[in-house]
């Protein structure tokens, strides 16, 4: 791996979240400076900030994109106890030509009485739905019944988790065999010996979310949680960031047909557990095909985890700051170019060594 380019983010304070849009051509950043910025990738692969605006009256924790089928829509959540939905609007102006776009607030969701810690759109097959969770222990599911009118959102469900919530993740499976399912993580450090990951499932009959499972083995504070893309399998895979990285396999148990109104029960297996971050793990996230899991922890590193074809998980890469002191003016602008010297794979070099031994002047035979 190599650092292809660095971009001065130009936020006045810490960045809390960066989010790519579905196609990877746009990026949103949010910060303690209470603003959100939108970045667009030009045809030549450079990133340009096309919008920057104050979104909240507190630190903005998370920012996320809706599926492009719903247009250009962002949601953000903040310490100011609110979540907000933003839409890019087009007018008759030539702003886009000048490299600027306009975002307007479509709604503010003010139901939470405490900091809103996470915001996620539900999988697109469920329609345009937005979920928030907050420190007051409530997960809220909102829906925009008319996808052409994003100023109307109705609070569809309130799930009380009884523990301060830090993160949510929707199960992305669109299979009919899997009812909508959401996992909630809690970073409550007051209550010990309680499972900190709860899984709720939608019940078609009662039209409510009901708790399907609590991962009782996860008793330490949970900071992030992520379902893997389903890949057409019958079971689900969930990564959890707590004092270590854990990957769970949730195998739905066959329901008895008579009591099918109850939530699905799962057999929970730990697929992998890594403590190489030494202490708290703050984020976990899967790549598109869930062949790689990335985690960020107190050791200041991002670690990449990968399973081989026999399902053995290993760390395959580490990203780490070079430790150079941060000074006020360290905004790296422009491109670092092809930093080939940085972190060149050691093993690769040794192959080179062997292969080129005694062939320094070797000429190639014509094919």
């Amino acid at each position: 791996m190599f650092v292809a380019k660095s971009i001065a983010a130009d936020h006045k304070d810490l960045i809390h979240d960066v989010s790519y849009d579905f196609h990877g051509r746009r990026m949103a950043t949010c910060s303690s400076d209470q603003s959100v910025k939108v970045w667009d990738k030009t045809d030549d692969g450079e990133w340009h900030c096309t919008a920057s605006w104050k979104t909240h009256s507190g630190s903005v924790w998370r920012v996320t994109w809706a599926h492009p089928e719903f247009g250009q829509v962002l949601a953000s959540c903040s310490f100011d106890r609110t979540a907000a939905v933003w839409e890019e609007i087009v007018g008759e102006s030539n702003d886009k030509q000048r490299g600027q776009s306009h975002w307007i607030k479509r709604t503010t969701l003010v139901d939470s009485r405490t900091s809103v810690t996470d915001v996620k759109f539900a999988p697109k097959h469920m329609g345009l739905m937005l979920t928030t969770c907050s420190a007051d222990g409530v997960v809220r599911i909102y829906e925009a019944p008319d996808v052409m009118n994003l100023s109307q959102w109705s609070l569809q469900h309130e799930i009380s988790c009884k523990l301060s919530c830090s993160c949510i993740s929707w199960n992305p499976s669109s299979s009919r065999a899997h009812p909508p399912m959401i996992a909630v993580g809690s970073d409550d450090s007051n209550v010990t010996y309680t499972g900190k990951v709860q899984i709720y499932e939608y019940n078609e009959n009662t039209r409510k979310y009901a708790k399907a499972e609590t991962l009782m083995t996860v008793t330490d504070p949970v900071h992030d949680i992520a379902f893997a893309p389903n890949l057409g399998r019958s079971f689900h895979v969930l990564a959890v960031a707590t004092k270590d990285v854990r990957i769970f396999k949730l195998i739905p148990l066959r329901k008895e047909s008579a009591t099918s109104s109850g939530p699905t029960k799962f057999e929970v297996q730990v697929m992998a557990q890594f403590d190489s971050h030494n202490s708290q793990v703050w984020r976990v996230s899967w790549n598109i095909t869930s062949t790689l899991l990335a985690s960020s922890g107190d050791d200041g590193c991002v670690r990449l985890w990968k399973a081989n074809y026999m399902d053995n998980w290993k760390c395959t890469g580490i990203l780490r700051g070079d430790g150079s002191p941060v000074n006020g003016s360290s905004g790296q602008t422009g491109s670092f170019g092809n930093a080939g010297g940085v972190g060149g794979p050691a093993s690769q070099n040794s192959v080179v060594g062997a292969a080129s031994a005694g062939r320094k002047k070797a000429q190639l035979m014509p094919g």
Binding site: D43, D44, S93, K96, Q97
Partner: protein, 374 residues
């Protein structure tokens, strides 16, 4: 197929064009230009084959295209045309239309931008891809996804004329029909004739296959008989039209199994036709007429569909009764030949001049055939 040379060029080729040969010379063309797409840095490049190619005297390398020069192009190159010997016009996905000048000087060979019309195609607040350009020196016409037709003069910076809302859907291609008019094809299967002598935004004539909304992607005009045009559609169908005779095409032929990206009459021997497609094939159509009338013109209005398999064995000559021309099979025959070895990725563009044919693919390869039997 032995005389086909392939070269991998590390960029997907969207357009490929021979440099025109001066009419007085009897030379075969030896220089062509390409445009790339889907790259972070797209390019317009100029290549040479044969004698013009660099030093190599080896027979083996003859026909292997050598890069003469290239320049960066912002956005995908969606169309490319030679204006004259040294000027190339390119249509960009950014909505710009750019004229490049080729300096063939030995020591500082290069391409420079002569002029750019930025945002020639646009939506109210964003750029719209320019999908096609055509030139009839000194006039230049471009079309785009915004449904606009823009008319320029090569030597003037100002835009001559714009037909707003010329089309409610995307215009995919354009060709000059007469000096005063162009023909466009669009994404709902229509051919529209535009007469620039008329004011207003209405086409002079609209043709379409009734009840059929299959998008048309390419159009070419018969070099000698300006009322005859060939179009290629999303379903791979090849249509021959006589624009004087209203709504029914002369003939319909199932040519390819996916989008036909380009169709070209042979410029000097128009009984030959070439098509290329997303299905990865390049076909040579030969219609041998036994009478004096150009074969395309034989026959009446009867339309029939000829089906042929695009996965026929390469090189296999399939003789078909030429119904794009006639009900009378004795008068004309249509033969098709696969020009490429088996291939899977799209052939996006082709050009043919004299005995020379070039094509470019999404497999990042250029194929050159300098012995096309025409």
């Amino acid at each position: 197929m032995d005389c086909i040379a392939a070269k991998y060029v590390s960029q997907k080729i969207s357009k490929i064009r021979w440099r025109p040969v001066p009419s007085e010379s009897l030379h075969q063309p030896d220089v062509f230009a390409t445009g790339s797409w889907d790259n972070e840095d797209n390019k317009v490049s100029v290549w040479a084959v044969g004698e013009n190619g660099v030093s190599s005297m080896d027979d083996e390398f003859e026909g292997d295209p050598q890069l003469l020069c290239e320049t960066k192009h912002e956005g995908d190159v969606l169309d490319l045309q030679f204006l004259d010997q040294d000027k190339i016009v390119a249509a960009s996905s950014t909505g710009a239309v750019t004229i490049f000048k080729h300096h063939p000087d030995k020591d500082k060979e290069g391409l420079s931008v002569a002029h750019t019309w930025e945002r020639a195609h646009r939506y109210p607040c964003d750029n719209a891809p320019c999908t096609g350009v055509v030139c009839n020196s000194p006039e230049l016409v471009s079309v785009g996804e915004d449904g606009r037709i823009v008319l320029y003069k090569v030597d003037q910076r100002a835009i001559l004329r714009v037909i707003e809302n010329a089309d409610s859907s995307t215009i995919h291609a354009v060709t000059f029909l007469k000096t005063t008019g162009v023909l466009t094809v669009n994404s709902i299967g229509q051919l529209k004739l535009w007469d620039f002598r008329q004011q207003g935004n209405e086409p002079a004539q609209v043709l379409s296959l009734t009840g059929d909304r299959v998008p048309l992607h390419c159009v070419d005009r018969h070099p000698n008989q300006q009322h005859i045009v060939a179009t290629g559609g999303q379903d791979g169908m090849l249509c021959i039209w006589d624009v004087r005779q209203g709504n029914m095409p002369f003939s319909l032929t199932e040519a390819h199994s996916a989008e036909m990206w380009e169709v070209h009459f042979h410029p000097s021997n128009p009984d030959h036709l070439f098509t290329c497609s997303e299905d990865g094939s390049l076909l040579h159509w030969e219609s041998s007429a036994n009478s004096d009338t150009p074969s395309f013109l034989q026959g009446g209005r009867n339309t029939s569909i000829i089906s042929r398999s695009a996965i026929a064995p390469a090189g296999g000559n399939q003789s078909l009764i030429s119904a794009w021309l006639a009900g009378d099979s004795s008068k004309g025959r249509l033969e098709t030949t696969h020009m490429l070895p088996s291939q899977t990725l799209s052939v996006n563009s082709l050009d043919v001049l004299g005995q020379c044919l070039v094509c470019g693919t999404d497999g990042e390869a250029i194929y050159v055939n300098r012995q096309v039997p025409v």
